[in-house]
Each structure stands twice: as C-alpha cells, then as structure tokens.
Symmetry: C2
Subunit: 321 residues, 2 copies
C-alpha cells in the first residue's frame, strides 16, 4: 500500500499497484485530436455548462480514452470518448444526489433513453441528452455488427438501471450490503460498457464459447471490480468535500460493516483493490498466453482498460477535492 | 365496434376486429403438450402458489403461445411459454400495486435479474424467480444466436424498466401522459419481447437493413400498440373489480385527458385499437407481398402475435372480473 496526500484530507492508504499495473501507461498518438473532437461534440450537444468542470471532464475523458484503447484508430476513439462523456454528464446531471430527492423524476428522464435504446422513434422536443444519445446510437450502429451493437446497448441499459438503484439507496444505505454494491458497481463505473466497447473500437469478436468461459469472465470481473474500487477511493474525498451526505461508496459501506474509521476503510478498500489487481493480472496473463490471437487481443484490451482506471484516479477531477 | 357483457360491468364498447383480425386463429398442434410442460416447469420453479389463478395462468399462457407461433416446433414453444409465464408471474408478484408501495423494494428485486441478464454469476440464496430466469437464459443461449440472445435480453431489461416506471407512477398518474404511456406499454405488455422471440422460436434472421426499415418498424409498432390497447381493454374491468386504485391503464388516462366516463373512454380506446389493427394489417400485408421470403416470414410472425393478443382478451383470465 502507498499513501497519498490530498488537499483537505490526511494521508490515506491507497493500493500499491506497482507490481501489477505499474505504469507509465501507453497512450494513443491521437489524444489531442480526441480532446478537440470531444470539445466540438459538446458544443453540438451542450450537455454541460461552459465551466471549469466541463473542461476538466473533457480532459479526463479524452486522455482517459486515449489510455483505454491506445492502439485504436481515431473514429473508434471519438465514439468511445463521446459515449463515456455522455454517461458521465448524464450521471452528474440527473443521477447521484439529484436523483435521490426524486427517483420518479430520474425514472421519467431515463424513459426516453430506454425508448431510444429500444429502437423507438425519437421523442418530440428532445433535449440535448436525447439528441446526443441518438447521435451515439446511429454512429454505433454504423460501426458495430448487430451483436456488438446489442451488447453495448444492453450495457447502457444496465448503467441506467444502476443509476436508478443508486438513487433509491442514497437515502437508505442501510439496505445496501457490500455484496449488492459490488454487483452493481461495474455498471455504474461504466467499466462493463468499456469492455463491450473494446470489440467495437478495436473491431474483433470473441468466439461465443470463449466469451462465456471462466478464462474470459474471471479477468473481466477482476478488472471490473478493480475499476470500482479505484473510482471509489478516488472519489470519496471529492464527494465528502462537496458535502454529499451518505454517498454510496465503498468507504462508508466498509466503515459500517467493519465498524472502522476512514483510514481503516481506505486500508481495507486498498487491500481489496490490490487483490483484484493481482487477480486481473493473473487472468490477463493466462488469456494472453493461451495460444489464441483473439483471446490475446481481448487480454490486451482488458489490460489497457484496467490501466485507464489506474490512471484516472491521479487526474485533477479526483485530486481537486 | 362491438360490445361485450362482463360480470359486474355494463356492456362496454370493444374494438371490432372482424375486418382486420377476424379469427378463428390457427393454433399449434402442440398446445396440450405446452400446457403439460408449463405445469411441470412451474412445479420445478414454484413462481406461484397452487391456486386457481395458477391454473388459469398456465392455461392462458399455453394456449396463447400456441396461437402466437402456431407453426413452431415444441422446444421453441416451451421456451417461449416459460418466458411469458415468468414475466407474467414476476409482474403479478412484484410489480403493479405491490411495487407502488415501495419502488425501492422492486428495484432491489430487479437487481438480481439485471445481474443475471448481464452475465453475472448466479447470486447465492437465489429464489425461484432467479433460478427460473437462469434456466430460461441458459436455454435461450443454447437455442439462439448471439444477436438473437442479446435482442431478447435487451427486451427483458426494457420490461423490467417498464415495471419500475409503472411502480413509480401508480401513485402519481398525473405525471403520465398518453404519449408516455403509449411509449412504455409495448414493453410492459411483453409484445416487444414476443417480437424478438419470433426469430428465436422460428429460427430466422431479419437482415439488419430491413430490421431498421420503415417497412418492418411500422407493422411492428402497430402490432405493439394494438397489443397494449387490447390488454388494457381486457384488464381494466378485472383490475377495477380487484379494487386496485388508479391502475395505470389507457381507460383512466383517456378519461382524465378527454374528461369522459368509462364507456366514453372504452369507445375512444376501441377506436384507437381499430386504427392500430388497420395499420398493422396494412403493414403486414405489404411486408408479406414484398417479394422477400424472410420478410414474409416476419410478417406471418407479426400477424400471429397480433392474433394471440386478440385471442387473449376473450380468455377467462380477463373475463373473470
């Protein structure tokens, strides 16, 4: 474990990933083009006000996606970055604390998204989020095979459900167990969507038999769990500083289940993160060296997805508590 | 329009479908085998108590599915019947009025379903609904191509979201417009799931280009709208007799928007049903005669799906108000 100093908080234990995902991480030569593209896309679909938060978000998304798929060509990177931006902006705008006050309002907001995901006609009087989602789905359909399209749109539904689940439980976290939280977190941290996007962005198809094998599912789950822990460690201090009460986050859940303080919960979460990282590293290694070029490509994608989450928590969006 | 006498209610106008879907409708020679299978499956997964309601439900599902896909082979019919039964039992048990008292409880109940739909490991201590869903997904995966599997599981997520949407709005129907209701109803009446199941049960694939064409989408939408109207007309008297307040149904929504009484709303809904039936008939006709064998097969599936909903509302489950 390492420690990190953050403005306004004491040094807190963070996972030591120097043996599993040490960095520095490969990044796409197109990172600056992604940043330019994302800014233009947000100009076309004004999902966020013209603020510092918007610039910070564009920056983390562009440079994050550049690390998620460092070998991808620009069009795939643009699509992935726009999708990630949409999800983050939707969650920031309608999810989390906003939704806790009125889950019914979030249900209504999500309804038009579900309608578009289910191939419904675009609703009249669509707002920028609907318009932007429509743009994303058209581009996704153009780029992806039917199965890849359906896999990603299935993940997007799960993300939206995850936001609903969170909204219902922010006010009553005593209903949430660590087990439940771990099951939903891969959706709300978007990592399952990124894993599904790998085949779209990099244009490969896992054989169905392999997809459902333990050899593939185990590293996918480990990367998904790692992403959730890292994001929670990174965002807890930020959320606390914003004064969001009872934020659904691994740290307060561990504090409650293990009757410990914040540093104790950080230590436990960091340990968990190290375990997930080790499991991911092992599973990715086996997949990469199993003799199948397709599985090796998937292993490479899982590795860079994991790296992008490791990279994320060092970004200003998280360190600016 | 025709009228129908129902126990406890006056004669109410019902749509006249004698020119569009006149019946009698073709039915599968395997109808009795489906009924036997469904009873055995419910014995294995006790989703409902051993009551008259259970027998009625088995009967309508078995004979309904026999009319939905009259030319299908038994295995496909069994899978479709079990899936339809699961959806109906889940909705009867956890949705509707039960959920209105605690949408958060429904969200928690749905979470494990979403987990299974997203290829998650089966939760420990699974209940019959989780166990039965798992059985359905394993059989669906065995029978369906990847794209067909993903299309159906996307629809199942939309049904579950539709139940959540209903649960949030039963207590505040003033937030629901006819437009919103029409958009969600094809999911909650399961017709979109049946349309997706057609390719699984009858083993064909629409070309992707055709799937997204107006020629296919228009009759699909008309059949979906027709199914919703018919189900609402059939179930309104039944739900009213059960004393369910503010049931989310087309009839009270029309009464509220058009300031009319129950017979007036029935007349308006029946007229709408006749319009949807006419649109479905036109679209199905064009698709059937367009020169493509695959599109003709899809037209045939849409026709029999429509017929099954017409047949449904004459069944004892609806007439026993």
């Amino acid at each position: 474990m390492t420690t990190t100093d953050r403005p306004g908080t004491a040094a807190l234990p963070m996972p030591d990933l120097s043996g599993t995902f040490p960095g520095p991480f490969p990044t796409s030569p197109h990172a600056d083009r992604i940043a330019e593209h994302v800014a233009q896309w947000l100009h076309r679909f004004p999902l966020l006000g013209p603020s510092g938060a918007r610039r910070t978000l564009c920056d983390i998304v562009a440079h994050g996606v550049a690390r998620t798929f460092p070998t991808a060509e620009p069009d795939g990177l643009f699509l992935c970055a726009d999708l990630f931006l949409w999800l983050t902006a939707f969650d920031d705008t309608f999810g989390e604390a906003t939704a806790a006050g009125s889950p019914a309002r979030l249900v209504r907001r999500i309804r038009t998204c579900v309608h578009l995901l289910a191939d419904g006609e675009p609703p009249g009087g669509a707002d920028p989020f609907d318009e932007a989602l429509r743009d994303l789905l058209v581009r996704l359909r153009t780029r992806a095979t039917a199965a890849r399209y359906l896999r990603v749109t299935g993940c997007l539904r799960d993300v939206l459900f995850g936001m609903l689940w969170e909204a219902h439980h922010l006010a009553e976290p005593h209903h949430v167990t660590l087990h439940d939280y771990r099951a939903i977190r891969p959706h709300t941290v978007f990592v399952r969507t990124l894993i599904a996007m790998a085949e779209v962005v990099l244009r490969y198809d896992l054989p169905e038999e392999a997809r459902n094998s333990r050899a593939v599912r185990q590293p996918e789950s480990a990367v998904a769990d790692l992403a959730g822990v890292l994001n929670d460690l990174g965002s807890y201090a930020r959320e606390s500083a914003k004064g969001v009460p009872d934020s659904l986050n691994l740290i307060p859940l561990i504090m409650s289940e293990q009757k410990c303080d914040v540093p104790g919960a950080y230590a436990a979460a960091s340990h968990l993160g190290e375990e997930y990282a080790a499991a991911a590293r092992r599973g990715i290694g086996s997949l990469a060296t199993g003799g199948s070029a397709l599985l090796a490509q998937h292993a490479q994608a899982l590795e860079s997805i994991a790296c992008s989450y490791v990279w994320h928590i060092g970004h200003a969006r998280y360190s600016k508590a």
